[in-house]
């Protein structure tokens, strides 16, 4: 699937279509965007890749304007690293590196306890083993020689949150990367409301056997860490909320990013959308974002390579070379778009004009046939002249006939 999307970007660029990441969901004018700050600059992962993606994801929610506070490089003077946390509604932690100055640590603790919002992303929970308050804020962590002294192992068993205070051992490891299912454990929390009970996350590394104080923590979702893939054979927490003082923290262990290729874990609509909702909840205490149509399901992965849903024009452009048997992602995107926006009026008229333009263009016959089939359901009389022309073409005549018949036949019992 990844290769196909990479292929898609080229014709889009040739068409001069904009690939900018301007938000597709505008927040109401009355609500100014919330301010978010990403803490980054050192990590055992590719922060140069993940931080811009996190910025896009937050901006694409339509809820945030995003600044970046990049630290000095590792093993250099950190004394000047003093982000002004208080200027922001949300702090996003994409940092796993050298200690911050004591003044910055204290400022961060105060920011959170006074009611600030925090997102803990992936390896940020590896950071700062020795900083007690930080570990209370993240709730759980791993690596950095964490062991039983850092808190219990936390996992999920028989429908309940398990705090294993007796088993000694190293906290934090993961098996081989793979796609895995995420299971909701709290379906009432606003971040989780309306999401499938189980959904398929794209290839990622699944943190296992994390340890931490886990105070005031709610496990929103877990994933089975499969021993066949080097995992722990436990349901490991993957999405959590923590309360620290008046502060709200959303913690996602998902979203591994390494190297300069695509990051499937970050393209997963499940990762993106839970991060957006988690960020909104941490910043405001509320969640307004509606579940996208193409959220992944039980055994169906779903990705947003541009970290947002495609626009109608992009969907159509992606369909240009579609051949039966190729990924159906673009077909489903188109169908979802039409279904969602069908109003039988002006809005649909624009969609239909776009579909008819495509049918007159150079797209593949398989792509055209799919679009004709959609028109058979939603199409108006305005589609008939184009369909009649397509009826003269060997490759499209069958679908065109079907669509014309459906559009022109009044159903009577």
């Amino acid at each position: 699937m990844k290769n196909i999307y990479i292929k898609l970007l080229i014709p889009l660029a040739l068409l001069g279509a904009t690939l900018s990441v301007t938000s597709c969901k505008q927040s109401p004018e009355s609500q100014a965007p919330k301010k978010a700050l990403i803490i980054t600059g050192q990590n055992n992962h590719t922060w140069e890749g993940s931080t811009p993606v996190l910025k896009k994801i937050l901006e694409n929610s339509g809820l945030f304007s995003v600044d970046i506070a990049q630290s000095p490089a590792a093993k250099t003077d950190m004394s000047g690293y003093k982000p002004v946390f208080g200027n922001y509604n949300l702090i996003v932690l994409d940092y796993n590196g050298d200690a911050w100055p004591a003044e910055t640590q204290k400022a961060f603790e105060d920011y959170v306890s006074d009611g600030g919002g925090v997102v803990v992303y992936h390896a940020a929970d590896n950071a700062f083993r020795g900083w007690k308050e930080y570990n209370k804020i993240t709730g759980l962590g791993g690596w950095g020689n964490r062991n039983e002294a850092d808190g219990p192992f936390i996992h999920w068993k028989d429908g309940a949150f398990v705090r294993d205070t007796t088993t000694p051992g190293i906290g934090g490891y993961h098996g081989a990367q793979k796609a895995f299912q995420v299971t909701a454990r709290d379906t009432v929390h606003p971040i989780m409301k309306g999401l499938p009970a189980v959904w398929m996350h794209a290839q990622d590394e699944l943190y296992s056997q994390l340890r931490g104080p886990a105070e005031n923590m709610t496990i929103l979702a877990t994933s089975w860490s499969d021993s066949a893939k080097g995992g722990s054979n436990r349901n490991e927490p993957v999405l959590m909320t923590i309360n620290y003082g008046k502060g709200r923290i959303f913690h996602t262990v998902l979203g591994h990013a390494m190297g300069d290729s695509a990051y499937p874990a970050m393209e997963c609509v499940g990762f993106i959308f839970t991060l957006q909702r988690g960020a909104e909840w941490a910043a405001t205490g509320q969640v307004t974002l509606p579940v996208p149509d193409d959220f992944p399901h039980f055994n169906i992965e779903s990705k947003w390579p541009l970290f947002r849903p495609l626009t109608f024009d992009e969907i159509l452009a992606n369909l240009t070379n579609y051949k039966t048997g190729d990924t159906r992602c673009n077909l489903q995107d188109l169908t979802n778009y039409i279904r969602k926006n069908y109003d039988g009026g002006e809005k649909y008229a624009k969609i239909e004009a776009g579909l008819l333009k495509f049918l007159k263009g150079q797209g593949s016959a398989d792509a055209k046939n799919y679009i004709i089939r959609e028109l058979s359901i939603f199409g108006s009389d305005k589609a008939l002249p184009v369909l009649k022309k397509l009826q003269k073409n060997e490759e499209t005549k069958e679908m065109a006939r079907l669509a014309i018949e459906r559009i022109t036949t009044q159903y009577t019992n």
């Binding site: 009970a197 489903q332 169908t335 039988g344 019992n413």
Partner: protein
């Protein structure tokens, strides 16, 4: 002449049944003169049957009827040579001769064969055309579910069966299993109180991925005939059995199983001859491969009496597969494998009195059909009932495909004020195919 003879034989049996005062579920008293020398019915008094579509389901059904001594299976029709060969071998082995006649085209079968009854086990896109042709040829029909691929075709089947006074049994065999009937009787007689909600768990969708490249049609398979009224399509190796994952031929597990668990849900509520008035649904469709039926589906229907039915793939309902009725005094869950549960096990021990509602009793779905062929009484799952179970599923399919809330008038069988959704009540047929008389 044969037609005449056939009717005579039926009249003979009807008179005999009345004369003996036999209830339809009791064995007939057969005069010894009507018995063949091995104790079975003389060949001239047997119900003569054929099968159209002798694939896996058709063959399974055929075995059931072959086991009945009152049946003489004489012919079969399938558009795949391999299946014709296999079917002929089975029938001939049963009778120890080489008499079974095979046809590739159902029209030739109907023109040449003088059978009393026929088994129909076809891919859904063919149900309407062949069922109506058989009804017009005055055959009684054991037809596999779902009744039809669209609601319009279902209506036309019902009309043809009624017009021709045919007996129809649907392959909704769960009705002939005691625990399903028992569950329905407990519910319909108020043993869980007033029922306001019923949940129907159907199989999870098939997530099969993979490409199926265009390939040569296997020798002996008439692919163009197989497609029939469905849109022309190149052969990709998806034909027998796997047709149910492609919308041109089937609605997937939802429509495949509506005739089982939605049928049972309706039966227990006395809703088997009506339908929901409002339907909403969400489907999740594959994002890879060529299959396009939903892999997840969740549909909410509301009936005129206020009862709500949630029908969905099993992992989206708490009790999983089967039917679970919820009343104000408890719940009852019924599923295959003799599974009958209740919120309180004592509910299951309740007796149903003689003055209470007693449901149609059949303990053998195939025998029920044969009995009704003779008695001319309605089977336990006539086409009118099958039409309503598949209609609920098809309305859900329309709600999912259009993303709209559907308002339905179950009496006039029309979608209210929605010309777009109404288009999906029927489907255009590929030439030259059409429903006889339409």
């Amino acid at each position: 002449m044969s037609e005449h003879k056939r009717i005579d034989r039926r009249i003979f049996f009807r008179k005999m049944a009345v004369g003996a005062g036999a209830a339809i579920t009791l064995p007939y008293i057969i005069p010894s003169t009507a018995l063949g020398k091995d104790g079975t019915l003389a060949p001239s008094d047997r119900i003569v049957m054929g099968v159209i579509g002798s694939g896996s389901q058709g063959t399974g059904d055929m075995y059931e009827f072959l086991a009945k001594t009152e049946v003489q299976m004489v012919a079969a029709c399938d558009l795949d040579q391999k299946r014709r060969d296999a079917t002929k071998a089975i029938i001939d082995a049963k009778y120890g001769n080489t008499d079974a006649r095979m046809y590739e085209d159902y029209r030739e079968f109907l023109a040449k064969e003088k059978v009393d009854a026929v088994i129909l086990a076809l891919p859904d896109q063919w149900h309407g055309i062949i069922a109506i042709a058989c009804a017009n040829a005055k055959l009684d029909i054991y037809g596999e579910k779902p009744l039809a691929r669209t609601i319009w075709e279902g209506q036309k089947i019902v009309e043809a069966v009624e017009k021709n006074n045919r007996i129809w049994q649907t392959g909704s065999w769960q009705r002939s299993e005691e625990h399903f009937r028992r569950g329905c009787e407990l519910v319909i007689n108020g043993r869980i109180g007033n029922v306001t909600f019923v949940e129907v768990g159907l199989p999870d969708g098939n997530p099969a991925k993979g490409n199926y490249p265009i390939q040569p049609v296997p020798e002996g398979l008439n692919w163009d005939m197989w497609l029939g009224p469905a849109p022309a399509a190149p052969y990709r190796g998806v034909c027998h059995w796997d047709w149910r994952w492609i919308l041109d031929y089937s609605g997937g597990q939802l429509t495949d199983w509506a005739g089982h668990h939605i049928d049972i849900a309706h039966w227990g509520l006395g809703l088997e001859r009506t339908g929901p008035v409002e339907i909403e649904g969400v489907g999740v469709y594959p994002r890879e491969g060529i299959f396009d039926v939903p892999v997840e589906y969740s549909i909410h229907g509301t009936y005129a009496n206020g009862i709500k039915m949630h029908y969905a793939n099993a992992r989206q309902v708490p009790h999983g597969m089967g039917v679970c009725w919820y009343g104000d005094k408890g719940w009852i869950h019924v599923d295959r494998g003799n599974r009958l549960f209740a919120s309180d096990p004592k509910i299951l021990e309740e007796k149903i009195g003689d003055n209470e509602t007693r449901l149609y009793v059949s303990t053998d779905h195939f025998q029920n059909f044969l009995d009704c062929v003779r008695s001319r009484k309605e089977t336990i799952t006539p086409c009118q009932v099958a039409h309503r179970s598949i209609s609920a599923a098809l309305l859900g399919e329309i709600a999912m495909l259009t993303g709209r809330k559907i308002k339905w008038n179950p009496d006039t069988q029309e979608i209210i004020n929605d010309p777009v959704a109404s288009r999906l009540l029927r489907r255009p047929f590929r030439a030259p195919w059409k429903l006889e008389g339409n």
